[in-house]
Amino acid sequence: MMVVVWFDVTLVIILLVCGWLALTTPNLLRAVMLFIAFGLLVALAWVRLQAPDVALAEAAVGSGLTGALLLSTLSAMQRASQKRRSRMEAMQQSTKEEYDAG
């Protein structure tokens, strides 16, 4: 019985630390990774609390799909800002060339 209780306490602590890190890590990619891990730990907690249906939904949707959504958005955002940046640089370059020519 004691073992079981300690398992719960450990799980809750790891889960909270994982969640806190996901919320406070400066790097967003790492934050999303931590969030996915957090979701899987939560699914484990649901199993512990005799909620297997919820655990399945959490692992598939709450952690898996939400994580995938966050990751794809992150990469879309990075690509967009890269594009914007190179466009700006090209613009700066061309104005500089005009300036040099003139």
Binding site: L65, A76, Q82
Partner: protein, 238 residues
């Protein structure tokens, strides 16, 4: 200054330093947690709430998994509105974004496409099995739908199929099937039996499975479309 913003976006970094105002927010959140925790420890123990009633009514619900009974029968109306939430999310996404978040390119080698083509029937079987199982064991339309959603994303990623532009009718039909099945069943039963979603006890399981199957396809399609974001389209040739 703009430059730094670009850099931050590029490196995907967020400013998480603990400033004074953030400390204040943290203090307020801590106070909230303390208050809520103090109330939470007074929840009565050894008090079944609605559990005994839900479990006792199980024989009349048509299914053996109590969670499925709650989702599709006792509180089927919640689930109806939830399927509407899914459809509404897609309508919202399509209204906001004209282009997909992700542009898909036809891959150089057809290996992935072949693999996905083979995977699809297998995954359909898995999803269907989860749905069937859901009546009596853990599982159901949402879990099955999540599997289908994953397959949908793979399909798009491997460019097995993607519409050239717009929103083809059959995709809309797939997305709306869950709401359609639910609403038709609800209104039909309202006219037949006087109450929204009042299943005839003998056919409850059949009706539940029919609604769930339609809902599962819609859930899968919706999740895939949420992932793609915007109308699904191939990358335009430059």
């Amino acid at each position: 200054m703009q430059d730094r913003d670009f850099n931050r976006a590029l490196q995907a970094d967020d400013d998480t330093r603990l400033t004074q105002s953030r400390l204040l927010v943290l203090a307020l959140a801590t106070a909230l947690v303390a208050g809520l925790a103090a109330a939470a420890i007074t929840f009565p123990d050894d008090f079944g709430r609605l559990a005994p009633l839900a479990l006792d009514s199980l024989p009349r619900s048509g299914v053996l998994n109590p969670v499925t009974a709650v989702l599709l029968n006792y509180r089927g109306y919640d689930t109806l509105l939830e399927v509407v939430v899914l459809l509404l999310a897609i309508v919202g996404v399509w209204a906001i974004a004209p282009t997909p978040r992700i542009w898909f390119k036809t891959p150089d080698t057809p290996v992935l496409a072949t693999f996905v083509r083979l995977l699809l029937p297998l995954m359909m079987v898995v999803a269907g099995y989860m749905l069937w199982l859901g009546a009596d064991e853990p599982g159901g339309a949402f879990q099955g739908g999540a599997v289908l959603g994953g397959v949908g994303v793979l399909w798009a990623a491997a460019v097995v199929w993607l519409p050239r532009a717009g929103r083809p009718f059959w995709l809309r039909l797939l997305l709306g099937a869950g709401v359609a099945a639910f609403v038709i069943a609800a209104v039909g039963l309202l006219f037949l039996r006087g109450n929204l979603l009042q299943y005839p006890p003998e056919q409850a399981k059949t009706v539940i499975l029919v609604i769930e199957s339609a809902a599962m396809f819609s859930i899968g399609a919706t999740l895939a479309m949420l992932f793609i974001g915007g109308y699904p389209r191939r990358e335009e040739a430059k």
